[in-house]
Symmetry: C2
Subunit: 205 residues, 2 copies
Amino acid sequence: MKPKKTEQNTEQMIKEAAKKVFLERGFDGAKLRHIAEESGTTMAMVNYYFRGKEQLFQRIFLETMGVFLGKVISILNEEVPLEIKVWKVADTYTDFLQANPHVPVFVLAELQKDSSEIFEKLNVKSLIESTYFTKQLQIEGEKGTIRNVKPLQLIVTMLGSLVFPFMAKPIVSYIGGMDDAAYKAFLDERKVIVFETIMAYLKPV
Amino acid sequence: MKPKKTEQNTEQMIKEAAKKVFLERGFDGAKLRHIAEESGTTMAMVNYYFRGKEQLFQRIFLETMGVFLGKVISILNEEVPLEIKVWKVADTYTDFLQANPHVPVFVLAELQKDSSEIFEKLNVKSLIESTYFTKQLQIEGEKGTIRNVKPLQLIVTMLGSLVFPFMAKPIVSYIGGMDDAAYKAFLDERKVIVFETIMAYLKPV
DNA sequence: GTCTATAGAGCGATAGAC
DNA sequence: GTCTATCGCTCTATAGAC
């Protein structure tokens, strides 16, 4: 039987503390002492449950990247009309990032250092390749209802437009003179703008 | 008289080594030992010229971010037609990032930790606000030759679309099954796509 | 200016008592 | 399972010879 107590156990508390600290400070900036303190236990406990900083990090990194990518992939695979799908990506992704604003920089920064073979573990490639989204774009393109586009290029444009304002928040909010509430409004407004931008581009020429 | 020797002096060698190491590994991951080794001198020399890791980092970070932002700002301020301007941003920025692929993650990751008052030093705000680009969008919008848009939103869409593929290279190239040459082609192709996307969005509705 | 040697603080990991 | 105490290592920074 799995432990199902609503009261958290130590392992879970450490994992959550570690996630917070790693996301805010990166692998090199995060110290086991911070994680222990944040979790309310000790360094000895961190090592007892996770056998070292590196292994604790791997667990959290894989999980976080899985969510980061999985969000898009599952939406792209839904069998709904293109227009609805584009909106759903913009809407869902923005909401997710507003709840987890550190995820993009964390994932992309750590990936830079260690561009290894973690992707296979999450079988990311096949999921994008076999996605309904790709077929959808091809079929609509042949019918002439949309411009002919390369799926990966479109995805990069869409994700870049959605993710960038979270990574560049310090600069953008400073330039725009926005406090946190104003920045939230800016991000919500972007849902519509990104949707309109993608749809405008897809319109046949 | 400034030293003008083409043969590099020690200070310059250390600075270039530090830039390389900081850009690749971030502040916390970069060690003075790596910088000393990379520069062919010693840690004592690094401290002799730059009085500590923190100050060396500040110099390099400010300089790098200045270039990162300055590139766009100067193009946006040019008094050329909108269409040419959008193309120029896509073209110039992509070329710059291909020569300096680590810059975006470096700048955005470090900014996350230390969202302080560095922007005033580079008087970034006024430069965007008073830019010819803003007026241009407003005038064309009133004339009805383009859609009414918010300048900052448009800039974020444009920069996000251009910068994201550099930050996400490990994932994107893996998904697309691209080697470095293929990825360069992908990025060059994006110049046109980003240009077309922005122009399609600007078209009056 | 440049080096070697080392001080002094902080790091991850573990031993051992409870 | 959980803690305290501590080991051995690496880090930044500097003293001091040349």
